[in-house]
């Protein structure tokens, strides 16, 4: 039974090896010419403004939470779309129910004003 997990293990090993390997290799053989600009924290290419350790608004937290909900919806939609024909009407109704449940949550947060920034 465990054999079927072997490809996943291989994938994990390759992914970790690639990530760790790239960092180590670039450190070993890469050129290093540090400068003031290069050592500054990266802020999307803009000149850095203020300290990086600022307190963030709690509103980001709500947005992140809502994002996860709909992100998960997308995760479920992909395999469902692949199997759509085989699942037939039943699968269609099930996914409809699932989306309606999420929609209720969406309407709820919208009317509660969780999506308004100010």
């Amino acid at each position: 039974m465990l054999d079927s997990y072997l490809p996943i293990l291989v994938l994990i090993v390759i992914a970790v090896a690639f990530a760790v390997g790239s960092v180590i290799m670039s450190r070993l053989i890469g050129q290093k010419k540090p400068g003031e600009v290069k050592l500054a924290p990266y802020e999307c290419g803009m000149p850095p403004v203020g300290s990086a350790r600022e307190r963030l608004s709690i509103k980001f937290y709500i947005i992140a939470m809502l994002f996860i909900v709909f992100d998960i919806e997308a995760v479920f939609l992909y395999p469902w779309a692949v199997m759509f024909k085989r699942l037939g009407l039943f699968g269609f109704v099930e996914m409809g129910v699932f989306i309606i449940i999420l929609l209720i949550g969406y309407v709820y947060v919208w009317k509660k004003g969780a999506l308004e920034w100010e």
Binding site: M83, L87, F90, G91, I104, Y108, K111
Partner: protein, 486 residues
């Protein structure tokens, strides 16, 4: 592949989760109603949730003696689940009845209260009918997350915040134990299906003493014993019960506790029956510890909500005695006791809901001085519930304790029964003390703030009827509890 899809589709059986489906539909409907109603108008929501609970009650009762299996054996709506479903629904019904006026008085007319109660009840149902560790876990999470929010519902009150946060942190931690136990048992048996774990262990006897099996059993037990509030996993109970809104405390002490018992009984008896010698000696000690620590600590409490929290710990200990016995009388005794406890404890909290001033700082022993004379009906009601909690005949508490201790004696645990009765005697002291304050102290207040709002009064009356019915004619319900065993 084609066959797999077909099989998966055929195994879906909506009838097996029908009661919780109805509840969830009502819950989502209520969420939508709350959003479009003006703020602070929650009466309609409370009436709709009562309707939802009543409809679910009818759907649930129809499942009695008509077991349904669904979702490839992950969910079973057998008599065991149905009996517990009835307990959850009664607990939720009594809670919702007393909530509306209370929420307005305390200044938090939050409509989300009602859908959250319904979702908690649905989660409890999945715990009781889950025949797979994953289904039980799913139910536990739905139940717990809703309860965390309910405990912290009064977000401007420090106590309520503390209750919500404490319950969340410790609850999340204990859920980790539960999952770890599930993972270990899966590692042993290669399945998370409770009955299949049982079959595997009885077919491979030498796996029983494998450390992995024992560790899995212990970790699972920790997860559930936390929810039941058994010593030494009880530390959260007093703070959470005291800080949470009173109806939520009432609900928490009845519904979710019964749900955790349901899951624990199913897992220990069906899945880990082969380890009975191990878990019953463990639970023996925990039951004795729980009864003693709960009862002795309750003596020192002056706040009544906190006292009832410790009393609730002690009652979990009594119910555990039935699980130690693990025979038909003991297990059906647990079912009966949970039903009885639902009536008597929620009833006692309903009296507190009426007796409290805004902020509830007067719910102390002193605050009840002369209460019985100034408010005769509430005094008598409180006395009935306290007598039931003590286990005095002819109340439900007596019948429940009788069955549980009879089960223990039948199974040969005579000392456990003796210690249990001894503890009932200890508990007399702090329950009677409330009555002494109510009837033998000069009233210091005129209790003019007590408003007999109809919902709460109906809730109290229903609880009295339940307590007396179960106490006077326990036979019929006990027969049903016996039929509910698997």
């Amino acid at each position: 592949m084609e066959n797999l899809v077909q099989m998966a589709l055929q195994n879906v059986n909506m009838a097996a989760i029908m009661p919780s489906l109805v509840l969830c539909c009502f819950g989502m409907f209520l969420l939508m109603i709350n959003v479009f109603m003006p703020r602070g108008k929650t009466t309609a929501a409370s009436l709709i949730s009562l309707l939802g609970l009543a409809v679910t009650f009818v759907v649930t009762l129809r499942a009695w003696n008509h077991p349904e299996l669904g979702f490839a054996g992950h969910v079973a709506l057998d008599n065991f689940a149905t009996f517990f479903n009835v307990i959850f629904l009664i607990a939720a019904f009594l809670t919702v009845l007393m909530s509306d006026d209370y929420l307005h008085r305390e200044g938090y007319p939050v409509g989300e209260f009602y859908p959250l109660v319904l979702f908690t009840t649905a989660g409890a149902m999945w715990m009781a009918s889950g025949t797979d560790l994953m289904t039980v876990f799913l139910g536990l999470e739905v139940l717990s997350i809703s309860l965390y929010v309910l405990a912290g519902l009064f977000r401007g009150q420090l106590r309520s915040n503390e209750a919500g946060l404490k319950y969340f942190l410790l609850g999340a931690f204990s859920t980790g134990f539960l999952l770890y136990g599930t993972a270990l048992l899966y590692g042993v048996a290669g399945t998370t299906n409770i009955a299949d774990i049982g079959f595997y262990l009885s077919a491979h006897g030498k796996m029983l003493q494998n450390p992995m099996t024992i560790a899995g059993m212990l970790l699972l037990a920790v997860g559930f014993l936390f929810k039941i509030a058994v010593v030494p996993f009880h530390m959260w109970t007093p703070d959470v019960y005291q800080g949470a809104p009173t109806p939520v405390t009432a609900f928490m002490s009845a519904g979710p506790k019964a749900a955790a018992f349901a899951a624990l009984v199913r897992i220990l008896i069906l899945g880990l029956g082969g380890l009975q010698a191990d878990w019953s000696s463990l639970l023996w000690m925990l039951a004795v510890l729980t009864m003693f620590i709960g009862n002795v600590t309750a003596i020192y409490q002056t706040d009544i909500k906190r006292m009832l929290a410790y009393s609730s710990i002690a009652h979990a200990g009594y119910a555990l005695v039935g699980l130690v016995a693990a025979n038909a009388v003991g297990i059906s005794g647990i079912l009966f006791y949970m039903l009885a406890y639902t009536f008597m404890n929620i009833g006692a909290f309903a009296v507190l809901v009426l007796a409290g001033k805004q902020g509830e700082d007067n719910l102390t022993l002193e605050g009840f001085s002369g209460f019985g004379y100034k408010r005769p009906f509430l005094g008598v009601a409180m006395s009935i519930f306290l007598f039931a909690l003590m286990g005095i005949p002819p109340t439900a508490g007596f019948a429940g304790k009788f069955y549980i201790f009879a089960g223990a004696i039948n199974a040969g645990y005579i000392w456990l029964a003796i210690l249990g009765v001894l503890n009932s005697a200890i508990s007399l002291y702090y329950y009677l003390r409330v009555m002494v304050y109510m009837y033998f102290r000069e009233p210091q207040e005129d209790y003019g703030w007590v408003r007999m709002n109809p919902g709460t009064v109906v809730s109290i009356v229903l609880a009295i009827v339940g307590v007396l019915y179960l106490g006077v004619v326990p036979g019929k319900i006990m027969e049903m509890a016996k039929m509910a065993l698997f």
